[in-house]
């Protein structure tokens, strides 16, 4: 229990240890810990940012999806409208075509009947001439009465 030179030895060794710690131990350790702390903080921040980005991207995707749906609906509407109009148009066209066909058929029929009438007229003329020839066989020459027969045929 004596105070002796041990106290000086302790003071000196304390000074040396503190100096050593200050020089070689503390800065390296605290530096590394600080650096790791920063790295972790950066990592956490990046994770936060990523979450925010993800949310943003999801919202954007949803918006785009909605927009696309609307666009699709609009296109379908348009297509339906177009289809209806095409159908109406072709109905009109068909009706016109039909009308046109009817008209031309009527014209053809008219023409045919005219032609037939013409033919019939000539044939009746020929028949009348033949009948008259048979009646007037001997006395009357065909040449002398041609103009009368033609006139008769024209009146048919």
């Amino acid at each position: 229990m004596n105070i002796n030179a041990t106290i000086l030895g302790q003071v000196i060794s304390f000074a040396i240890f503190v100096w050593f710690c200050m020089k070689y131990v503390w800065p390296a350790l605290i530096g590394a810990m600080e650096e790791r702390k920063n790295t972790i903080a950066d990592g956490l921040e990046a994770a936060d940012r990523a979450v925010r980005d993800l949310e943003l991207a999801q919202n954007k995707a949803l918006d785009q999806l909605k927009e696309a749906k609307q666009e699709a609906a609009a296109i379908i509407d348009e297509a339906k409208k177009r289809a209806n109009s095409i159908i109406d148009e072709s109905k009109d066209k068909a009706r016109e075509e039909g009308d046109r066909l009817i008209v031309s058929a009527k014209a053809e029929i008219e023409q045919e009947s005219n032609k037939a009438r013409e033919e019939l007229r000539t044939k009746v003329a020929a028949l009348a001439v033949a009948g008259a020839e048979k009646i007037l066989e001997r006395s009357i020459s065909e040449e002398d009465n041609r103009d009368i027969v033609d006139d008769l045929a024209a009146q048919l």
């Binding site: 002796n4 106290i7 000074a15 240890f17």
Partner: protein, 273 residues
Amino acid sequence: MASETITSREYITHHLTNLTYGRHADGTWGFAHSGEEATQMGFWALNVDTFGVSLALGVLFMFVFHRVAKRVTTGVPGGMQNFVEMIVDFVDDNVKGMFHHKSKVIAPMALTIFVWVLLMNIMDLVPIDFLPKLGELFGLHFLKVVPSTDVNITMGLALSVFCVVVFFSIKQKGLGGFAAELAFHPFGKFGLPINLFLEIVNLLAKPISLGLRLFGNLYAGEMIFILIALLPFWIQWALSVPWAIFHILIIVLQAFIFMVLTIVYMAMAFDDH
């Protein structure tokens, strides 16, 4: 271990005597053979046992921490680095919590104090007769293995801290400022003598209380272990085990208190009143 050949008194005295190297009364140098002889050696003697253990523990602490510091990685730390970082972080938190100035010295000093004192205190948990008996085999009569039960060791630390505190007080506030702090507190300039007396007592009380607190706690703890060791061997465990477990608390607490008070004194040195 109370053997039949020595009395309890002798056993206790034996355990409380340092292995002292110094100058004998007849002028020769050597180890003291008793406590009285050690006292006669006066100031220029060395407690080889406590100082040696304290030095060895300090070197061990520096060696381990320096090894970790050299291989320190900023990535995932390994087991030893983790452990060291835990201590460093703990000390750093305490320093940052109490000391709000810039100083390169205080944190390493706090770390040194905490770990070194802790290691010295932990020596108290080594079974009380183990190392002395081992020392006897090598011809050492006395061996006190717990450095912090030697008042020289604890006062050495406390005085070092005191010197650092005074140094920074003067550096921070100037010699005049430091003197003014002693002279004009707490009663202003008209109470100068009283101020001076109070402040000097206050100043000197810091290292004395710091050193003696650690010494007293550890000395008392050691004393209890010695007393328990006087009991018959088959019952010793019933007392020594609970006491050792309780002592773990004291060991850490005293190291922590020493560190905290150092930081507080340093903060006071830097703070302006």
